[in-house]
């Protein structure tokens, strides 16, 4: 494995869960989904009183990136890191990090996330995605709502990370957002109000029909806001929970819209990719 992204994470998840060691030595690229996914596994292991060992990437560039994303700050709570982590030196250059890996446990964390993204929105969203003020507001609100779902519904903690990349095959800049929690997942969250037969049905209910565990009509904004925003800006959105994943796939991306019988992973895992706006 030389990349740790949503796609490869899925392929290695089974091994990650079963093995005492998570071997990242050959990894030359890791994105927010990969990092946040590892931390979610760590959180789940901690609930079972297990501490796995992570064999860190050999690539100093990847280590520097992990450092910039604050991965180690969070990871050392869950894993034994080998070799013992020492902060890599060297210039990080102009940072493409919009939001470091940030834990989400309470409402105050959302204020921090929103302020942080606001501060960097001109440097990343305006400059690299060519977002105007209205789009930046939509981005911040969608991110706020998705992260709040963890506090409101998951009954556990979560993580978020946001990073800008150059996407060579698309010839455009993109921003990747990963939000995950190790909580009760969509199916259990909605089961008090709806009779659901599968994880996929639960995700569909929440994403496509704005269903919420609360009866109040004012609820269910979170994912609806994210969906609206992602569709408006031709982004890609995937939501995984339990054994299923539902994705909204734009023309420029590939993948399956509905996936079932995946390796069971508690909680919810959301991945969003937003491309640079093209001149009309």
């Amino acid at each position: 494995m030389n990349q740790l992204t949503e796609e490869t994470f899925e392929k290695t998840l089974h091994a990650f869960i079963r093995s005492d060691q998570i071997d990242l030595r050959g990894v030359t690229f890791i994105d927010p989904y990969g990092m946040v996914g590892l931390l979610e596994i760590g959180e789940l292991c901690m609930l079972e009183d297990i501490k796995k060992t992570v064999l860190l990437p050999r690539s100093s560039e990847v280590l520097r990136y992990l450092e910039r994303m604050d991965f180690f700050t969070n990871a050392k709570r869950y894993f034994s890191l080998e070799p013992m982590h020492a902060p890599p030196t060297g210039s990080a250059g102009e940072s493409d990090v919009l939001l470091e890996i940030t834990p989400i446990e309470r409402a105050n964390d959302i204020h921090y996330i929103v302020s942080r993204v606001e501060e960097r929105s001109q440097a990343i969203l305006a400059k690299h995605l060519r977002y105007d003020g209205k789009a930046i507001n939509g981005f911040i609100v969608a991110l706020s709502e998705i992260c709040q779902n963890i506090v409101e519904h998951s009954e556990n903690k979560g993580f978020v990370g946001v990073q800008k990349y150059r996407y060579p095959s698309l010839g455009r800049n993109i921003v990747k957002i990963a939000v995950m929690d190790a909580g009760i997942g969509f199916r259990r969250s909605l089961s008090g109000r709806f009779k659901l037969t599968s994880d996929l049905e639960a995700i569909e209910k929440a994403l496509l029909h704005g269903a919420s565990r609360h009866e109040d009509e004012g609820r269910g904004h979170g994912l609806a806001a994210a969906k609206r925003f992602v569709e408006q800006w031709q982004g890609r959105l995937s939501i995984r929970s339990g054994t299923a994943r539902l994705s909204l796939i734009p023309k420029w991306a590939r993948g399956r819209e509905r996936e079932m019988n995946l390796v069971n992973l508690p909680g919810s895992q959301i991945n969003i990719i937003l491309p640079e706006v093209l001149n009309s």
Partner: protein
């Protein structure tokens, strides 16, 4: 008009320096402070929620503050009072509108540039009636009926419906007729 500065409340309640109205717990804390002020205001008061120093407001906070306050106002929980939004920017207006539309609510909102418009869900004929009242500052059913060439009870019903939605203020009119005043 009694003006409530949301930034001051936010600063007092959160104590984290944020000027953003995000999350339901934040919205709940801010709403509870506003409710205390509304309850102390005399009947007939127009209360303006001032957003001019606030940054982002998300959908959850829009629902928790504006939509819930308005629902309770319409249910008569605060007495005979009126609510308007002031000092709003375009992004705040859009996010609040989404929350109001989900609950079929409407409110008068003023921008930072001083223009006013209704936000949320309102029938076209009620929007038209509201514009009529806003242009004249004050109107009676008779004036509306004559200007719009509609039946007398239609004009009265439209104004009454705007009043029930707390979008115009009802005041003692000439003789037995109520007058309706723009907020």
């Amino acid at each position: 008009m009694l003006i409530i500065d949301l930034y001051t409340i936010l600063k007092d309640e959160l104590k984290n320096g944020s000027n953003n109205l995000v999350t339901r717990p934040t919205g709940q804390a801010v709403r509870e402070r506003i409710e205390r002020d509304i309850e102390q205001a005399p009947d007939g008061s127009v209360i303006g929620l001032d957003f001019s120093k606030v940054g982002v407001i998300d959908y959850s906070c829009s629902d928790e503050i504006v939509a819930k306050l308005l629902s309770r106002l319409l249910a008569g929980e605060y007495g005979d009072k009126y609510l308007v939004l002031i000092g709003m920017n375009e992004n705040q207006r859009e996010n609040i509108e989404v929350a109001l539309e989900r609950k079929d609510l409407a409110i008068v909102a003023g921008t930072r540039e001083g223009t006013k418009a209704v936000l949320g869900s309102l029938n076209n004929y009620l929007k038209d009636t509201l514009e009529f009242v806003a242009e004249r500052k004050k109107a009676t059913a008779r004036e509306l009926t004559e200007a719009k060439k509609i039946e007398a009870n239609t004009g009265g019903t439209r104004l009454l419906n705007l009043y029930k939605k707390r979008l115009v203020r009802r005041i003692g009119g000439e003789g037995a007729m109520w007058a309706y005043e723009a907020l």
